[in-house]
Symmetry: C2
Subunit: 107 residues, 2 copies
């Protein structure tokens, strides 16, 4: 991703502030499920936004990541030109016990 492509620092919602419906809606999407699963397999802060293998354009990917941030599932930070991600696994598990396990176990 180009330097300066992120104009503002990302806004986050802590899982403790997330309604159940928001969490369910965030996970009820195939692209977002893929993002969550890919993040679960990677070490924190190692996956940049451009590194995900999902069949959507950059704007849609930004939207999906914003939904995941808003549901307390993903934390992002900028490291120079890269925006890197981590799954908020422990915090989300504390708020919604078992939900991520179910999602990561998959079908």
């Amino acid at each position: 991703m180009a330097v300066g492509s992120h104009r503002a620092a990302p806004e986050h919602t802590h899982p403790d502030e997330v309604p159940l419906l928001t969490a369910l809606a965030a996970l009820a999407d195939p692209v977002r499920l893929t993002l969550v699963r890919e993040l679960a397999r990677a070490a924190d802060w190692t996956r940049s936004c451009g590194s995900f293998d999902v069949p959507v354009g950059k704007a849609a990917l930004s939207h999906h990541l914003a939904v995941l941030r808003g549901a307390g599932l993903v934390e992002q930070r900028d490291e120079g030109p890269r925006r890197v991600n981590r799954l908020r696994r422990a915090e989300f598990d504390a708020r919604f016990p078992g939900l991520l396990d179910l999602v990561l176990k998959g079908d």
Copy 2:
């Protein structure tokens, strides 16, 4: 509900056949969440379709109940003029352990 208002027997999907995304999407809706919670508080086959306290019309209610049947969450049968419902709690729990508990515990 009037006699004969249901033309065909309802179609059901067993929870074992339900993809995770379908289950999450079915639950990620405030009306359907209310239906599931009301059913969880009632004995099986005691709630008719007209008995739910949800702010939607009859066609929308039918749609929501069809989504819940398709996600393996609700079973319906006709008893004379009434279509009655039950939550498929045990079967759904076996397929998606912990998900209904999370939903029923609420926010």
